[in-house]
Symmetry: C2
Subunit: 188 residues, 2 copies
């Protein structure tokens, strides 16, 4: 477990260097969670108390339309933050579902604890601002991709941006993410 | 102009209260820009030095696909921040175009000035974190909407969320945003 905490400290300190005393305050606010493949991190219509930092594993965030069809928003793996951020921030029931594609381990941070930490250690605002900003950019790129690219262009860009992800995500899910059939995917 | 600055101060102080001295430091870093209807705020392939806070007016952010077709990402009006945030943050050429649907006025904040302000007045990190977070949530909702909703559902949700916007955006652009023809839009 100590090793996991050191990974998290390294992740935070890439943006915001902490003293040992500050790190102790931070570490105390994170809790550990482990889930098996196929288990849910977030279920539809439930409240979402935490945002989650992935220590190890792979998750998918998706939504289900009124016909019961599944639509994948994003995959996330080691060192990514994931949650239904609307539900998390605004304390409303989740509209996004997140489940595990592999056995996964997380550090969980409650909304109150994040605000507490940002208040106690103001430079953490900088860390969360930068993370949120990069998250925003990733989503803007996802929208641009959905609006303007063909499935094949989306596939090629995904290979460029997240080569490791492509190897780990089952072909069926990759096809769903790109909005094509498995047959079309295998032609790319 | 003083009135515009007071609007900006009010906007910031909804999240982060400033002393008069702090506000003076902030105000000095914003510059004013005014554009006529149809003029560009951001052009494709150009560098994007600023993010923009809309004092007055209405803009659309869009991308053009390889067939020359226009795809609208977002509309923005008074009190919204807009930019190509990827180009702005990572100092790469713009992939998004932003132009004015109405005569518009902006306060512009350069990347260096935003970082300077967050360094000089650390509580501004909190302001920009919260703004970025809400921006993230809005984009997540836009993706969910694109993936799971019909055009009519998208239209009804837009009426609920941004009733004033619907009245100001020309029908042709609204149809493009929803991904339907003008004839389909008039049936909703």
């Amino acid at each position: 477990m100590e090793q996991h905490y050191q990974l998290l400290r390294k992740h935070i300190e890439e943006i915001c260097v902490l003293t040992d005393e500050e790190w102790d305050v931070v570490a105390q606010r994170f809790t550990y969670k482990s889930l098996k493949k196929h288990q849910f991190l977030i279920q539809k219509d439930q409240l979402v108390p935490c945002e989650y930092w992935i220590i190890k594993g792979l998750t998918k965030a998706y939504a289900i339309d009124s016909n019961g069809k599944e639509h994948i928003l994003q995959f996330a793996m080691e060192q990514y933050w994931t949650s239904d951020f609307n539900a998390f921030q605004n304390k409303v029931p989740a509209t996004i579902i997140i489940d595990c594609i592999e056995d996964s381990e997380f550090f969980c941070l409650k909304w109150e604890d994040r605000e507490y930490l940002c208040h106690e250690i103001p430079k953490l605002n900088h860390f969360f601002r930068i993370k949120s900003h990069y998250g925003y950019i990733a989503l803007q790129q996802r929208i641009l991709s959905l609006l303007t690219e063909t499935a094949e262009e989306r596939y090629n860009n995904l290979i460029k941006k997240m080569p490791k992800l492509i190897q780990r995500v089952p072909k069926k899910l990759l096809a769903a993410y790109l909005g094509v059939t498995r047959e079309t995917l295998s032609r790319f």
